[in-house]
Symmetry: C2
Subunit: 383 residues, 2 copies
C-alpha cells in the first residue's frame, strides 16, 4: 500500500509573520509523527519574506529565505504553497499564478476568499491545482472539514456562532468588569488581542467574511458582505450587559446563516445578540470561538475552540497541508470540496439570498425615562 519510494513534499511559505512562524515551528516539532502518518517527507524549502534581515522569534536557515515571492510560486519543484501574507492584491496574484501552474494552495485568507472566491474556485476547476482554507474560519476548530465532510449528509437550517475572538474578548471583559467598550478596547490593544486598527474586528466585518465562507460551503451561494446586515459591538455599553444578565441573557456578537427551506432563501447577518444563558455558546468566553450547526440529520452540533492566534491557526494550516498531501498522492479530484465551483453552483441553484428587509427578529430596547406618570404611554404612542 505504501508508495515504492517515500517522496518528500516540498512546501513554500509566502509570508513569515505570526502564522508562518507557527507553521514552521509546529511542522518541525511534530514532523516525525506527521511524516509517519502521511507516508511522505515534509520540507519547507522556501520562505518568502519582505525583509531578509528582520529579527524573528523562529530561526530558519537564511538560505531558505527570499524576497522574491513569485519565484516560490513559479518553482516547479514546489508542491504546496501556503499563502500567509493576507490582503487581496499581491495574495490574489500569487494565488492565481500558483493555481494556474497546478500547485496546491493552502491559506487562511478569509478576505481574499470572500472577495474573489468565485473566480479562484473556477480557476481551480479549470486547472490541476487545489485550494484549502481551513484556517480562514475559526482558527483551530475544524469547522470547514466538519461542514463539508463530517456532516456531508446534512442540510443546514441554521448556522450561528461566535467567529471573532477580539469582539468576544472585549464583550467578556466588559461583562465581567463593568468597564466601557473604549477602556477594554485600549487594554486589548495593549495585550495584542486587538489590532491597532480595530475596525475590521469590532465593526463585524471579520465575522462577516467568515460567515460568507460558511454560507457558501453550506448553501453553494456567494453572499457579498454588503448584502448582509453587519453591525459591530461599539454601541454596547456595560448597562446593556448587566441588564441582559438580569434578564437571563448574555450579549454575544453572532454570525447567523439561516435558510428557509420552504422558500429556499438564505439569510446571513452579523450583529450583537441576546443569547439565553442556558445556551452553551453563552458560556464561550474570552478569545474562544464557537459554532452551532442545526442540521437535518445529525441534529445540533456545537464546536468550540481557539479561533485565532499563532498556534491554533498553524494547527489548521498543517491539517490542510495533510489534506494537500492526500490530494497530491493521487486522489483524482477532491470531490468533497468547495473548490468544485460547478458542483457548488448546482448545490446553490434555486437558492436565493434574502434582502435585509426580509430579516425579522425580536429586539431588546432599553429606554431611560423620567419617573413620572404617563411616560410609558407616551413612549408607546410614539413607537
Amino acid at each position: 500500500m505504501a508508495p515504492s519510494a517515500p517522496r518528500t513534499i516540498r512546501i513554500g511559505l509566502l509570508g513569515f509573520g505570526t502564522v508562518g512562524q507557527g507553521v514552521w515551528k509546529h511542522l518541525h516539532n511534530n514532523r516525525a509523527a506527521l511524516e509517519r502518518r502521511l507516508g511522505v517527507g515534509l520540507d519547507i524549502v522556501r520562505i518568502g519574506v519582505r525583509d531578509l534581515k528582520k529579527e524573528r522569534e523562529v530561526k530558519v536557515p537564511v538560505a531558505r529565505l527570499t524576497t522574491d515571492l513569485g519565484s516560490i510560486v513559479d518553482d516547479p519543484t514546489i508542491d504546496i504553497v501556503c499563502e500567509l501574507i493576507g490582503g487581496v492584491t499581491t495574495a490574489r496574484t500569487l494565488t492565481e499564478r500558483a493555481l494556474k501552474s497546478g500547485k496546491v494552495v493552502v491559506t487562511g485568507n478569509k478576505a481574499l476568499i470572500c472577495e474573489h472566491g468565485a473566480e479562484l474556485f473556477r480557476l481551480v476547476q479549470r486547472g490541476r491545482g487545489h485550494y484549502f482554507f481551513e484556517a480562514s474560519v475559526a482558527g483551530g476548530i475544524p469547522i470547514i472539514k466538519t461542514l463539508r465532510e463530517g456532516l456531508i449528509a446534512n442540510r443546514f437550517r441554521l448556522i450561528y456562532g461566535i467567529l471573532n475572538g477580539t469582539c468576544n474578548y472585549i464583550l467578556t471583559r466588559m461583562a465581567k468588569e463593568g468597564r466601557s467598550f473604549q477602556e477594554v478596547l485600549a487594554d486589548a490593544k495593549r495585550l495584542g488581542y486587538a489590532e491597532a486598527d480595530e475596525s475590521l474586528d469590532v465593526d463585524g466585518w471579520d465575522a462577516a467574511h467568515k460567515a460568507v465562507i460558511l454560507a457558501y460551503l453550506a448553501h453553494g451561494r456567494w453572499i457579498k458582505p454588503k448584502q448582509m446586515l453587519v453591525q459591530g459591538i461599539r454601541e454596547i455599553t456595560p448597562h446593556d450587559l448587566s441588564y441582559a444578565r438580569e434578564l437571563g441573557y448574555t450579549i454575544k456578537l453572532l454570525a447567523i446563516i439561516s435558510r428557509d427551506f420552504s422558500t429556499n432563501r438564505v439569510f446571513a447577518r452579523v450583529h450583537p445578540c441576546l443569547l439565553p444563558a442556558r445556551n452553551l455558546l453563552a458560556s464561550v468566553d474570552d478569545v474562544f470561538n464557537g459554532i452551532c450547526l442545526s442540521a437535518d440529520v445529525a441534529g445540533s452540533t456545537l464546536l468550540v475552540g481557539r479561533g485565532a492566534g499563532q498556534d491554533a491557526t498553524a494547527s489548521a494550516v498543517i491539517s490542510d497541508i495533510a489534506d494537500a498531501v492526500v490530494a497530491l498522492r493521487g486522489a483524482p479530484a477532491p470531490v468533497i470540496c468547495e473548490e468544485d465551483a460547478d458542483t457548488y453552483a448546482r448545490l446553490g441553484s434555486g437558492i436565493s439570498i434574502a434582502s435585509l428587509a426580509e430579516i425579522t427578529g425580536r429586539y431588546y430596547l432599553r429606554l431611560t425615562v423620567k419617573d413620572r406618570p404617563g411616560v410609558l404611554a407616551e413612549v408607546a404612542r410614539r413607537a
Copy 2:
C-alpha cells in the same frame, strides 16, 4: 476534473435495524445533493436481514432484501459494505471476508473494533480494502475525523468526554427531578433511551469501548477494557447530585484518556466525575455527548452533539460512505487513517499503558454520621 463517465457506487447493508433504516432514509432524502458533491451515483443495491417479512418503518423494494448476508459480502459488484448488525461473531466473520476481498467496510460497531481492531486493521493493511468507523464513537459528532484529520498536527495530553447518552440522560433527570437511579432507569427503558439489558451502558462498558478507540487513534496503542478503571453510575444517588450542585459541581460519567509526555504513559478510564459547573461539558445534558480535546497546538477544542439515535448515527455512516467513495476513486492509500496498523504501531512505539495503580485523582467522600462530639476525629483516625 469530473470522471469521464459518472460511476454508480453499489452499496450493501448488513442489517436493517434502526441505523440501517436511517441510512436508507437519509441517503435517499439527500441523494441528489450527495451525488453531485461526490461525482458518482449512490445505490443501496442489497440489504441483508434476518426476516424478509418483518414490518419495518422504512419500505424498501423486496427484491433488494436477502437473508444471505454472505452473498452481499461476496458480491463482486458491491463496492461498499455497511456492517450494521453489531456483535462480535457474525459481524467479525463478514467484515473479515469483505476486507479480504478488497471492499470498503463502513461500521459503527465499537465492540468489534475494541475487541478485534488490531487484527482487522492488519487485514486492511495486507489487502486492498478500507475500514471506516465514524459512527462508532459519539454518533453524529465527527470526532474520529477531527482526531485523525482536523487536528492531525496535534498531540493530545488529555481527551475526556461524555460518551454514553443513556447514562447522561439518566444522570440529567436524576439531577433535575431528584429521583433515584432505578426509577429513572425504568422510565428510560419505557422511552427507549435505555436497552432492556442496561448493563453495557450504565456499567460504563459502552463508554470504555469508545475510549479504547479514541485512545488508539490518539496514541496508537490498543488498551483492553479490562486494563481500564471502569465504573458505572448505579451507585449514584440523588443525594450525591444535590451535594455536588451545592459545591458548584455536576456529576457526569466521563471517559478520560490522558498521556503523560514525560513518561509516555497512557491512562484510560471511565467513571463518574465531579465537573465544575463552569466547565461547558457540565451543561451537556440529556442524551447529548460531548468531548473535550486538550491538544498541544490547537489548544482546547470541544465538540457537542447527538451521540446516538437513528438520525445522528446515519449521518456518521453516510459521511463514511462519502469518504469511502473518495478512497474508491483512487486515493492510493488512505494515509491519514488508523487502519494503517504499521503507521499506528510506530506512532505508539515507546508508549506504554499505565496500570490501575498508577491512576491518581481527587475524591469526593460523602459521610453520613451521628451529630456528636468526636465523630469526625474518629473518621479521620480510621481513614
